[in-house]
Symmetry: C2
DNA sequence: AAGCTTTGCTCAAACGATTGCGCAAAAATA
DNA sequence: TATTTTTGCGCAATCGTTTGAGCAAAGCTT
């Protein structure tokens, strides 16, 4: 049998009505006391004609798409690629499909993606927001369950699961201070982004009052940025800092590249610590000490939270308390500082 | 105005019929000679009530979802993450959305994902197949345009865009031979996968007839595999090979890790070359000589091909000649061998 | 045997859009 | 003025499901 079988073909082949067929096929047979005979015949016929329900029609009718919209600001960034992978698989395990959109750090593309999600009737949204104000997402959140991940807004009613970037930066900085470094360069990423701001705050708070020299440079979570800032500071054989705190793995890589060009040896000449998970950092020489974010835990918590809201709304139950979690990151000690 | 506006609300607010509203909103006004007055009023009203078409209903009616199904065997693998990112952005540029599914190297999950795509009425599918026989995908391909990427089947009528793994492996091996290596260990990935088989064939063909000792080991595209095989061969201070050809970047990393444990220095003690793109490989020390696949080119060619089929089927035109391309990879020379 | 329950199913209206066909009024032509 | 043509729009079916309401036949009760 070929592709175009629908509930109607089954109805006419079995002699039952489409209602009965539908109820059997959606497992509602018992509830409507369909006879065993009918159940068997219909199921068997469905199998024979290789019936696959039209999920689009189903969605239109039931208002449930079994699809979640996932919005990230740059799928080409390994960090978000990993995150997406984890989330997609968590969703798949629950029988949900994923519409993936990339806002490419653009508010406008974010807005478009959200509208698309809405038009597609996704059952929920998991987003790494790029907007600076929560309005848009909160607006959408009234129609569709939304959970933020990795980034959130300062004052928002939306649930989020992020890692504690302030804490992470403090941990990193404190570690550097403990190791005796006296002059630290922080290379930051996108200054307007929430994680960056928190990391910066953690960094400066940790250093405040200590007899330590420091500076902040940079403006993007990119390899180029890391490279360029190091070149600027360390050119002409200068060694103005004895340690560098890279706010992302990409920045770190750029820095390492620059150090190589400058013939500055990491660890011997300058200590270096990084943010971000990246198994890759273990293969560098020396392996890079870093702040890792518990991505798996955060993802799974975000997914739980999302389905908590979805389920309660579907059942008409009161919504669970808004979950706003900051998960503490972990310091992974290697040998780069 | 709030979310629940549909074509009907606009119709009643303007006094026009839903037909007219629909035609205006889908840009068919001219074709049906709708008056300028009606056009203006309807457009303005749509704006006021913040009308967003229900894409699900639209899909049901028009049989076009503006969605492409993307199937990869492991989104957590950086290679496929990068590939997905590129493809998603190419599709977005054409106004298409992406349903992303992960088969996790399982034929069964692949099959499920394909059925899901079909049920969701995707307009086309781009897949990195894991199945060993083409049947399933060819079957689907009759209903929905399908283009394979990265992996293909030996004899298939399906269009594909892959890189020439045979050639790549030859290039890598020839390079090693040119550099004077005399004893080469190849560590392969999943033996049943097409790319692996081709790489293996390229490797052995390149070495055939040369006075060179070689061996093949391994069975997965994973870090562990790379690590374990090196440990097996090089334990007890043995140096049975003077060069290693890793069939993937993950394998390479495992190998490097093992060499570190064994106190074997890459380049001085053993040459090493790898397959796969991975910007990361440049940051290792020494930077890794490798075979890079033109991912961007392949992706864009796959997308072009796909839309070639989609467009011709939509217009009822004869289908374009089946595009089956093997793109030559490039040797990126660094300093690991 | 009359009434009440249960059983097992069908009818038809949604869901929100698109679209072939038709048709009245206005304009153009004869 | 009568006919034809053009303009501008509406009717209602359709896509493939789900679902509230209803109903005949069979079984049970008294």
């Amino acid at each position: 049998m070929e592709g175009k079988s629908n509930i109607f073909t089954i109805a006419s082949r079995t002699g039952y009505s489409v209602s009965t067929v539908s109820r059997v096929l959606t497992g509602q047979a018992a509830k409507f006391r369909i006879s065993k005979k009918a159940i068997d015949l219909i199921s068997e016929t469905a199998r024979q004609v290789n019936y696959q329900p039209d999920l689009v029609a189903q969605t239109l009718r039931t208002k449930q798409s079994h699809t979640i919209g996932l919005l990230v600001p740059g799928i080409d960034n390994p960090f978000f690629a990993t995150l997406s992978g984890i989330i997609i698989n968590l969703l798949a395990a629950r029988g949900y499909h994923t519409l993936l959109a990339d806002s490419r750090e653009s508010e406008q593309e974010e807005e478009q993606a959200l509208q698309m999600f809405k038009g597609r009737k996704v059952d929920g949204i998991i987003a790494v927001p790029v907007a600076t104000k929560a309005d848009n997402l909160e607006q959408i959140g009234r129609d569709i369950p939304v959970v933020l991940i990795d980034r959130h807004f300062k004052k928002t009613t939306l649930p989020y699961v992020c890692t504690d970037n302030y804490l992470g930066a403090r941990m990193a900085t404190d570690y550097l201070l403990d190791r005796g470094y006296k002059s630290i360069l922080a290379i930051q990423g996108v200054p307007t982004s929430m994680p960056n701001q928190e990391r910066l705050r953690g960094f400066t708070d940790a250093i405040k009052g200590k007899p330590v020299h420091y500076a902040v440079a940079g403006n993007a979570f990119s390899v180029e940025n890391g490279h360029d800032e190091i070149m600027k500071c360390f050119s002409d054989g200068a060694r103005p800092f004895d340690a560098v705190f890279a706010f992302s793995a990409t920045i770190l890589l750029g820095a390492i590249d620059a150090f190589r060009e400058l013939n500055i040896e990491v660890k011997r000449d300058v200590g270096i610590i990084s943010y971000d998970n990246n198994g890759f950092l273990d293969f560098l020489d020396p392996a890079v000490t870093r702040i890792e974010q518990p991505l798996r835990e955060a993802s799974s918590m975000a997914v739980e939270t999302l389905f908590g809201i979805i389920d309660s709304r579907r059942e008409g139950l009161p919504e669970p308390a808004v979950c706003q979690r900051l998960i503490p990151p972990t310091l992974v000690v290697r040998s780069s500082c």
